[in-house]
Symmetry: C3
Subunit: 138 residues, 3 copies
Amino acid sequence: MQTRFSISTHGQGLYEFTRDVTRWVAGQGDGLLTLFVRHTSCSLLIQENADPEVQSDLRAYFARLVPPTTDPSMAYLTHTYEGPDDMPAHIKAAMMPVSLSIPVSAGRPVLGTWQGIYLFEHRDARHTRTVAAHFLAD
Amino acid sequence: MQTRFSISTHGQGLYEFTRDVTRWVAGQGDGLLTLFVRHTSCSLLIQENADPEVQSDLRAYFARLVPPTTDPSMAYLTHTYEGPDDMPAHIKAAMMPVSLSIPVSAGRPVLGTWQGIYLFEHRDARHTRTVAAHFLAD
Amino acid sequence: MQTRFSISTHGQGLYEFTRDVTRWVAGQGDGLLTLFVRHTSCSLLIQENADPEVQSDLRAYFARLVPPTTDPSMAYLTHTYEGPDDMPAHIKAAMMPVSLSIPVSAGRPVLGTWQGIYLFEHRDARHTRTVAAHFLAD
C-alpha cells in the first residue's frame, strides 16, 4: 500500500513525523516500509528524539559546513538566482538521505529506543513537503 | 524482476539515467524500485534536473570539501597509490547514497517534478559503472 | 524473513559484517535485502574491503570534518553532556546511511567485487550495536 505524508515547514530545521508513520503501518503485520521525499532541497533523517538540542546542533553544524552563497567562501557557486539558501539546500540534499527503508515487525517499524523520523528542511521560506510512503507485507 | 544499467563516465560529475529507469518500470503497476551501485568510488543521487548549473555546482562543492590527496590539507591520508582522486572518491562514496529506494505507482517512479536520477562519478579516468536495479510488485 | 545482527565495537572505526549477511541470505533465491541500524551514533557503510588503509583513512577524514566538541571550532554546539564524541557522532550519523537496500540474486547480495558491508562506529566507548535485517523474496 502507498500513501503520502504532507509536512508544513517554516524555515530550516528538523520536523518530526514519526507518529504519522507509525500510525499508518499499525496493524499491518510484518513487512518493509519505504519513505521517499519528492524534493531536492530537503532530506529525510533518522535522529535522536530525546534532547531537542541534538536537532538544533545538527542544523547549526550543516549551516556552517554549507554556508549561504552570500558567504565569500561560496563565491565559486553559480546557481544563485533562487536565493542564497538554494544551492546549499541542494548540496545538503545530496549529503543526507532522500529515501529510508525500515523493516516493520508486528505492525511496528523496528526503530531503536531513541530514533525518530524527521524531515530536514534546508530552505528558509515556508514550504509544504511531500513524503511518499510505501509498505510491502512479507 | 532485476536488471543492470551500464553507465559510461568520462571524469568526475553527474550522469543522468532517469529515462533508463522509467522505461524499465513502465507498465509494471505498483511496487518498489531499488537501485544499488556496485562500486565504492561513485554514488547514486536524486537531484534537480532543471538547471545544469546545479550539477556543476555539486561537483565543485564536493571537490573542495574532499580535495585530491595531493592537496596539503589531505597529507594525513595513506591510501594514495591508486591516484590522488582515489581516496577522495571513497570518502564521497561514504557521504552520498550507494542505494536508493523509490516507490512506483501505476508503472511510474513517484519522483517529484524536478527530480532526476544520477550517477555521481568521483574518479577522473573513464569508467563503465554498473547499477543493479530491482523491482518488486505490490 | 527478518533477523538482527549484533556487532560489538570498541572505539571509532569500521567493523565488517559482510559474512554474517551473505550467510543469512544464502539459499534464499532472488529478492531484496534491507539493513537498518537501530542507533543514532553509528552508520552503515558499503566500502572497499581490499586495502585496510581505506578504512583508517575514512575514519581519519570524518574525525577531522566533524571534530570532538572539545575542539574550539565546535564551541557553538550545545549537546555536550554525553561526552565530546557524542554530538559529532550524531552529525556523522546524519551524513552516512542508516539503511541500505541490496538486491539479492540466486541467494547472493549483488555486491561489487570490492564491496564489503560495514558498521561505522562513531563513539569511543565500547558498544553492542544492533542491525535489523529484512529479506523479501521476489
